[in-house]
């Protein structure tokens, strides 16, 4: 089985995000960048599938600036087999990203695309679904459990939905996107890091894939959310419960 795992370079979720004064982007000085946490879970799942099934190949893909090599090397150190970086200086919307991934699916012919459910920067939660639509493949988003049939042709996915867990099944190829509970990603080991240096990391200029990077959704401005008005300290539990009852009228 060949598994394609798209990953995105995003600011560390522990970082304090602030918007540039002119609203054109976020301040990136001294910001550490990491693999998007949901993408990391997707990679971990792909590695586990490979370990369970033997013979699977895990191909990482990212789209971004050259510096995205860092995250791809980390993914290779975790155990991915090789990596592809589509070079682009522009922020791309989900539809463009999906179109580029669809081109790579045509080239690589994976049985499975395993992606994060959303990137924690733009929070769109669209790319996997759009990709599935473009390919006319079945999809299972928000996966918390992934199980293959004995012949590896079918997959059953448990999904985290409102109010419970839903299970869907389909015959491969398909797209699965991961939720938090699917697994706990591993750390790259020292031998893994050594090995990663020798693994293939292929760079493709965006223009070579023949996708028009014209966005369908255009971001005009970023701004900080309105600040909450300063609250007040209360001295006792009685006072607190009283205020919630009489002032906030919530209890």
């Amino acid at each position: 089985m060949k598994i394609l795992v798209p990953i995105k370079r995003v600011p560390d979720p522990q970082t304090n995000i602030s918007v540039k004064a002119d609203g054109t982007g976020i301040v990136t000085d001294n910001v550490k960048f990491v693999i998007n946490p949901f993408c990391e879970i997707a990679l971990e799942e792909a590695l586990r599938i490979k370990e369970q099934q033997g013979g699977a190949e895990v191909v990482l893909v990212s789209i971004g600036q050259k510096v995205t090599q860092e995250q791809l090397r980390t993914g290779l150190a975790m155990g991915a087999d090789r990596a592809i970086l589509v070079l682009s200086d522009d922020e791309l919307d989900a539809a463009t990203t999906a179109a580029l991934l669809a081109k790579l699916v045509d080239q690589e012919k994976p049985e499975l695309v395993l992606a994060g459910k959303q990137a924690i920067d733009d929070d769109a939660n669209q790319t996997g679904q759009i990709l599935a639509a473009m390919l006319d493949w079945p999809q299972a988003t928000f996966a918390s459990k992934v199980e293959f049939s004995g012949d590896k042709k079918d997959v059953t996915v448990t999904r985290e939905v409102d109010g419970g867990l839903e299970t869907v099944a389909f015959t491969l190829p398909g797209v699965i996107t991961t939720d938090l509970r699917l697994n706990e990603p591993r750390y790259a080991s020292l031998p893994g890091i050594m090995k990663a240096r020798k693994k293939e990391l292929k760079e493709i200029p965006l223009a070579e894939l023949g996708v028009d990077p014209k966005p369908r959704v255009k971001t005009h401005k970023l701004s900080p959310p309105p600040k909450r008005a300063a609250g007040r300290k209360v001295e006792t539990v009685q006072e607190l419960v009283n205020l919630l009852h009489t002032e906030a009228k919530l209890i």
């Binding site: 079945p138 209360v234 419960v241």
Partner: protein, 323 residues
Amino acid sequence: MAKVLVYIEHAHGKLLKSSLVAVSAGLAASKKNGGDVAALVLGAGVDAIASEVAGYGVKQVLSVDDARLKDYVADVYAKAVAVVAKAQGATTVVAAATAQGKDFLPRAAQLLDAGMASDVTAFNEDGTITRPTYAGNVLATVTVEAPVSVVSVRTTAYEPAQKAGAAAGVEKVALPPEVTSKMRFVSFAETKSDRPALGDASIVVSGGRGLKSGENFTTYLEPLVDVLGAAMGASRAAVDAGFVPNDLQVGQTGKVVAPQLYIAVGISGAIQHLAGMKDSKVIVAVNKDPDAPIYSVADYGLVADLFKAVPEMTDEVQKLKAS
């Protein structure tokens, strides 16, 4: 003519409140951009839902009643929405950003060659759309640069639509034979809990590392949660320490919630946690550290030992409810 199509989600034969939020958003979109609002109901045996939603201020209800829509699966639902949107000449398609909306809507958007804005919180006067990014730490102002806009609406962004005037007519729409699925619905296991779900609870009580153990969540926090009829949440620190399961996590990598009342107990207020709850209407923090960052977003802060304060709070609320 421009038309706004609002997807109506329902479960167990009931119209969801989030669908009425979507109706409100659809009405707001039509006010800005023009066009009538039509509600779209999909399923098998959905006459009751269709006539119910007809009373909420929409111009028309479109109902697709078909055995292929009995169980929700993303590919068929996306196709059905796209088929109807095309036939109706809809220029805007709206659904609530629930698990289901998030699942099929981007797929439907692609079938319509539309641009999609996710988790939208406002349709602005100037025709732009506001949506939170970076888990609410940044607001993005966007426009859709495609003939058709698809929008998922954050379920806390608008008040649910109210019953209004005469009921709209219900029109049945047939699903073409080529709408088929490559997916199979297997089962749905409802989470067995008497507590409301984190995502739609009006009160959320969350515990952090200050609780010190999973047993303390049960002993101290749960009685308060239950007396308030609240949902229980937790900080990532509490989840990472193994006190409670991951599905309770509120934060940037967990669930983003915006209840009427959020009570943070023993939570210091790491950035990634604040990102998940700071849109709550009223925030209460109980922490023994007076300098904890959680107080920067709290409307009411109580500096106290939670092991004393929380049982006391449970008692006080109980007294209040009994009186």
